[in-house]
Symmetry: C2
Subunit: 158 residues, 2 copies
DNA sequence: CTGCCAGTTCAAGTCAACTTGAGGTCAAGG
DNA sequence: CCTTGACCTCAAGTTGACTTGAACTGGCAG
């Protein structure tokens, strides 16, 4: 199989066609040529998309991910950057662990009001002092599964 | 101390005055009255801000947090909601753990290119298949420490 | 009495990562 | 040859949580 079109790339990668165009515009991927108007991608774009997905999942921004590719297109990933991100993740994980335990306790706590539960109040103080850093769960994607191939006809979610 | 003004509330809570106004507009906090134009807050607003900070840190949206207050202003937190959030955090934590370990390995891996490292490729596949859900580390706040009290004169970051 | 300046309002801007809309093109099938 | 519909471009919209700008106000020090 040589040269996949955008619908196929979308189907195979699970990334929407509009996102592929967006990524191309951002320089994260490149189309190899055109057939008429239509982009043609090298199948290697799928590896690249996987790497992008991995980077996103690890918490890298698209701009950061862009730096992970050498000019020749092959990944050139700074190991120190990976280690730093691992450290960052570790810190995040520790905070989330504390938060989860606190929530769990608060959920099970028999105190009539949460305000009377020492554990909850301790959490509260930690949050107020900023000891439990910010974080935000990404809003879920529209559809993570492979697209249907049709782009216009997709049922629009309200 | 009865009735803090916005600058004081900001100083004591570490939340910016503009954010306090925003929270008030959203109905998350309420000012108790005015002196001239200036809002006056009941000191209890500080507890409320702590609870909001906690909720944010746990990953609740402001809208969700808004539901955690009874009409009388006292927190009325659904324990099942806390348990559910704890579960969610737990899932997130597991994914982040896997990601951290993978990154750690990739950072230390002796393979000449990451693409030749089986662990890295396994991670890649997991990410491509969506097994490692989305997440996004919130961009860091401007200043987590207590504000200076001046709002206009603050050095603007470029 | 006057001016200062921290406070006020309201609209608009920011950021990231996409998505959507309108209007256009073209390769292939009938 | 003509239609069809998937793809194209480019601009603008979306989301959440705020921040910023411009124009204004009023309590208090001098």
């Amino acid at each position: 199989m040589r040269d996949v079109d955008i619908a196929e790339a979308a189907r195979l990668s699970g990334v929407r066609a509009s996102t592929l165009r967006f990524y191309e515009e951002k320089g994260l991927i490149a189309s190899h040529g055109r057939r008429g108007l239509r982009r043609l991608f090298d199948p290697a774009v799928l590896d690249r998309l996987a790497l992008i997905a991995l980077g996103r999942a690890a918490g890298f921004s698209l701009d950061e991910i862009a730096t992970m590719f050498a000019p020749d297109g092959r990944p050139r990933i700074d190991r120190r950057m990976l280690a730093a991100k691992a450290e960052e993740l570790d810190r995040t994980i520790r905070k989330l662990n504390a938060m989860r335990d606190g929530l769990r306790h608060a959920a099970a706590c028999p105190a009539p009001s949460h305000m009377e539960c020492p554990t909850f109040r301790r959490l509260l103080r930690a949050a107020a002092s900023g000891a439990i850093g910010e974080r935000k769960a990404r809003r879920p994607p529209r559809k993570s599964l492979a697209a249907t191939g049709r782009e216009k006809g997709r049922a629009r979610e309200p």
